[in-house]
């Protein structure tokens, strides 16, 4: 079981505390419930892993707050980063 941290009970992503290879499992708390997920792709140290499916436009929650919205459909265990997550804050109108 690779180590991850879920910072806040409201979060829908976990942070990898070590590199995770495709096919490895992680155990995390999703809203107080333990989930075990098989990771879909290589996750570098410190990067985010989706804890449940997210539709395009759905808020990604970390630290209990919205950090941005999914720009692609995201499956549980998927790597969440620049390719599927963006925030509108600070961008030109």
């Amino acid at each position: 079981m690779k180590r991850v941290i879920v910072i806040n009970a409201k979060d829908n992503v976990a942070v990898a505390l070590e590199e995770v290879a495709p096919g490895e499992e992680i155990e995390a708390d999703l809203g107080g419930q333990k989930v075990i997920l098989t990771v879909q792709e290589a996750i570098p140290f410190g990067h985010k892993i989706a804890l449940r499916p997210l539709a395009v436009g759905e808020p990604v929650i970390k630290y209990g707050e919205v950090i941005g919205e999914a720009t692609q459909p995201i499956a549980p265990g998927a790597w969440v980063h620049l390719h599927n997550l963006a925030s509108r804050r600070g961008r030109p109108a």
Binding site: V15, G46, K48, Y63, E65, G68, S87, R89, G90, A93
Partner: protein
């Protein structure tokens, strides 16, 4: 809680006793360097500003230079000007002298040429240094200590290890009567509601919101030129490699440096702190500009968390480097003072790390030199422009 510091005539207390050779304008920079070179231990304060600026931008430069000269870590100042600059050396001299500390001035065009200016300045600096060398540390209350809170080279460990540990330290220091200052307003986007809720009263809450909103508006305008859309990123390549995806994510991890204390006020750039407790400083996120702003506000020590690792320092204030990334600490041991990566490895709790960090800060206050000080790093003196 006490520390050993240098009391100043204006009631502030320094953790260092520097002789600052301070340029009023960039044209005096080499003369400043040459004087400081001939008086080992004197600190040259050079910068690219002081002329051909107008309005609020010039005022901000002037205010910041005066605040740096008045800083509690500075025991005496030699102001060096050219003679024709828009921010007159006389005005810098008067602003610093009002603090009661020993100040002298050399103006290159009045001295005659740069060589005469260096000679005049060296003789004045030698006398100031002799006076300073007689001053001893005294026991002072912790309420005189202000610590600036900073992060740079952020990665994913910043928000879960290093910054929360700094937040614990900040709460402990504020509880004991000291002060801390949060800044980097460009990187507070998305966290304004959290900070505003922690204001001591609605006026301060409104100031916090307005400060962040104004900065966001500046960013939106600057980013709207289509020719440079590839330069629009609000976070750095290092942040992204380190696992940070959006500026909001960075902000939420960054604000943990401020712990849970209430915000007592918002400071303008270059303005000195007047109250005790946790403050917000209006400054962009640029490492140099924000640290310069924190020091100008009166912070005697800067705590600087870094996930990716940066060796930078500030000429007149110790910068304590903290990382939450165990790999970065191993790699950059010569530049990083405290390893909060132990939190990631499960060896320490955030509370333990925060308590140890406060002890480290007190040691630095009492005279322990940081790695950036020992290796002579002075990159962070950069005054923000408007």
């Amino acid at each position: 809680m006490e520390f050993l510091g240098y009391p100043r005539p204006d009631g502030t207390v320094g953790v260092r006793n520097h002789l600052a050779v301070l340029a009023s304008v960039f044209c005096a920079n080499q003369v400043v360097e040459n004087i400081a070179h001939q008086v080992p231990g004197a600190v040259p304060l050079t910068h690219p500003l002081g002329c051909s600026q107008v309005g609020a931008d010039l005022e901000q430069t002037a205010r910041t230079l005066i605040s740096l000269g008045r800083h509690p870590n500075v025991g005496a100042v030699l102001v060096v000007g050219l003679g024709c600059e828009r921010f007159p050396a006389q005005e810098l001299y008067a602003g610093v002298a009002a603090s009661g500390k020993p100040v002298e001035m050399v103006v290159i065009q009045e001295a005659g040429d740069s060589l005469r200016a260096v000679e005049q300045g060296t003789r004045l600096a030698r006398r100031l240094m002799e006076e300073l060398s007689r001053q001893e540390r005294e026991s002072c209350d912790i309420s005189h200590l202000t610590v600036g809170l900073k992060c740079g080279g952020t990665d994913a460990t910043s928000g879960i290890a290093a910054n929360p540990a700094v937040g614990v330290m900040s709460d402990l220091l504020v509880q004991a009567g000291g002060s801390t200052i949060l800044t980097e307003v460009t990187e507070l986007l998305g966290a304004e509601h959290i900070l505003a809720q922690r204001a001591v009263n609605p006026d301060v809450g409104e100031k916090i919101r307005a400060t962040i909103a104004q900065m966001e508006e500046r960013l939106r305008r600057a980013g709207s030129d289509q020719r440079f859309s590839h330069r629009g990123a609000l976070i750095s390549p290092g942040n992204m490699d380190g696992g940070v995806t959006t500026v909001v994510e960075k902000a939420l991890g960054g604000i943990t440096k401020s712990g849970s204390a209430p915000f007592v006020d918002v400071l303008d750039y270059g303005e000195r702190i007047k109250k005790k407790g946790l403050h917000l400083l209006d400054s962009p996120g640029h490492d140099g500009e924000s640290v310069t702003g924190l020091v100008a506000a009166g912070a005697q020590i800067i705590v600087f968390t870094t996930g990716r690792g940066t060796p930078t320092g500030f000429p007149i204030a110790p910068v304590v480097k903290v990382t939450g990334n165990p790999t970065t600490y191993q790699r950059m041991k010569e530049n990083i003072d405290y390893n909060a990566g132990a939190i990631i490895e499960g060896e320490k709790t955030i509370a333990q790390a925060g308590t140890e960090l406060l002890a480290e800060i007190l040691a630095v206050a009492n005279g322990k030199r940081t790695k950036a000080e020992i290796l002579g790093h002075r990159e962070l003196l950069c005054i923000a422009r408007l």
